[in-house]
């Protein structure tokens, strides 16, 4: 089990680098401003398209139905939001929230091009300080965003607050492979191949090096589950996918 080191009051991790806490958000913003334009392409290239299957499973577990209100945090380019928009129908509502303006622009433009304008709203928001009333949403998703949040516990508390009682939180995130052989192969892939691909496609190797490092600094499956439980979520469980490279955590607001 990995141990989360309690961040120093003044510093936290940005990948393997220690930075001042107040600087992390800005450093992360810089990464995503840089990758926003080719984010979808890089997702497909890096994961071989498997990210679509991870997201498909996430949507199945969400149980989102006609009329639901859904919040997709760190939704970026709108993959999940687009699917949810079709599921909730005209009586439902989907809010796509992201702290990064560049990612939000790409997402908003993509969703507009798809014609998804009636029940879908875009808002720039910090996951730690969600600007919504209590008990607003039936379901909240955050896909590959939680590891970039400075204070994960604060963000989880905010999500708990804005969920309706009985509402579901789904956290889709990179995690710890369950097999040591797979872990070695994954390390080689992450630290050698990913930055190379980032350099080739987006001319930005550093952002993808941060990606690999931030994954290693993220809590493992059991630790994140415990964190969710300590914040107040009930019936917490997780599903390992692709040998544990990615995990989907689910919690219910009591």
């Amino acid at each position: 089990m990995r141990i989360i080191t309690v961040p120093d009051e003044k510093t936290t991790h940005f990948g393997y680098e220690q930075v001042k806490t107040e600087e992390k958000a800005e450093r992360v913003a810089g990464v995503f401003h840089s990758v926003a334009a080719k984010y979808d392409l890089m997702n497909d290239v890096m994961s071989g398209g498997i990210h679509r299957l991870w997201k498909r499973f996430t949507i199945e577990v969400s149980g989102v139905r006609n009329g639901d209100k859904v919040l997709d945090i760190a939704g970026g380019t709108g993959d999940l939001a687009a699917k949810f928009s079709k599921l909730v129908g005209p009586d439902g509502q989907v809010v796509l929230a992201d702290i990064n303006e560049s990612m939000l622009r790409v997402g908003r433009d993509k969703l507009t091009d798809l014609g998804l304008v009636n029940n879908l709203y875009c808002t720039q928001a910090d996951a730690q300080y969600l600007p919504f009333p209590d008990n607003s949403f039936d379901c909240i998703t955050i896909a590959f965003g939680l590891r970039n949040v400075t204070d994960k516990e604060l963000a989880l508390k905010a999500m708990l607050r804005v969920l309706k009682p009985g509402g579901r939180l789904l956290v889709l995130e990179f995690s710890k492979p369950q097999n040591s052989l797979l872990e070695k192969a994954y390390d080689t892939y992450s630290f050698k191949l990913l930055p190379f691909m980032g350099k080739l496609i987006t001319n930005d190797a550093d952002s993808y090096r941060y990606l690999a490092e931030s994954i290693r600094m993220h809590p493992d499956q059991e630790t994140l589950k415990s964190l969710m439980e300590s914040v107040g979520f009930g019936e917490c469980k997780f599903y390992n996918m692709t040998g544990g490279i990615v995990a989907l955590h689910k919690g219910i607001k009591p």
């Binding site: 299957l53 991870w54 499973f57 199945e60 577990v61 149980g63 599903y239 996918m241 989907l248």
Partner: protein
């Protein structure tokens, strides 16, 4: 009307999330199935329209060997296939449970034969009958699909070749079934012929009957002897 019919075993609630494969593998399977089915339905307008009767219904298929579970949801003529669903939130309307080969054989049977099918059924009988009717009248115009991709001329040639190939395979299958018995019994003599087996069994029956008669006669004689002995002792 909601009924519960059980076949070989009492219907049960399998443990939750009982899909043995990685969720991403399940997602790949369901995505491929969903795309294929919906694409195929475009070439079968009759079935496409008939799906309206099953709008908002949910069919759960629980395969016991290999261990897999799927949910088929129909919404506005679109067939959605999932590997996961929270059954507390959305209970399925129909649940079919069985081995893969038994479920596949359902296509040939009818719902009155579930008791012999190895498949257990729970749920709404009316929806089940509708599924059965739709499935039995499935008529996908695969030739049109080929023509769309290859053009009418090449598509027609390929369709004819496929039909000829299918007919040949069916003929070969029938021949093998007819002749294999003769090969095994007459040519290779690996197994006795049916008539030989019948003769043998008949002989066994005859011997058994004779033995039963002998046994009865012996018992009669023993009992008679025993009674005689008792009488003699009684006189003394």
């Amino acid at each position: 009307m909601r009924i519960t019919m059980t076949a070989i075993h009492i219907s049960h609630q399998p443990k939750k999330d009982s899909n043995m494969y990685d969720p991403s593998v399940n997602a790949a399977i369901t995505a491929a199935l969903e795309a294929t089915i919906n694409k195929a339905l475009q070439y079968d307008p009759g079935t496409f329209r008939a799906l309206k009767k099953l709008d908002h219904s949910c069919l759960s298929i629980r395969i016991t060997q290999p261990e897999l579970r799927f949910y088929i949801l129909i919404n506005n003529h679109y067939v959605k296939i999932q590997s996961y669903m929270d059954e507390h939130v959305r209970p399925p309307d129909i649940i079919l449970t069985g081995k893969l080969r038994d479920l596949a054989r359902l296509k040939q049977g009818n719902i009155h034969n579930f008791a012999d099918s190895g498949v257990s059924v729970e749920g709404n009988a009316r929806d089940l009958i509708t599924y059965q009717e739709i499935f039995s009248t499935l008529d996908i115009d695969w030739e049109e699909w080929i023509n769309d991709h290859l053009g009418n001329l090449a598509g027609h040639q390929l369709s004819n070749a496929i039909k000829k190939g299918s007919r040949w395979l069916l003929q070969q299958k029938t021949k093998i079934e007819l002749h294999s018995v003769d090969y095994l019994t007459d040519e290779f003599q690996l197994v006795p012929a049916s008539s030989e087996i019948q003769t043998f069994l008949s002989d066994v029956d005859t011997i058994k009957a004779q033995f039963d008669r002998l046994n009865a006669r012996t018992n009669k004689l023993v009992n008679a002897r025993r009674n005689m002995t008792k009488r003699e002792h009684g006189h003394v």
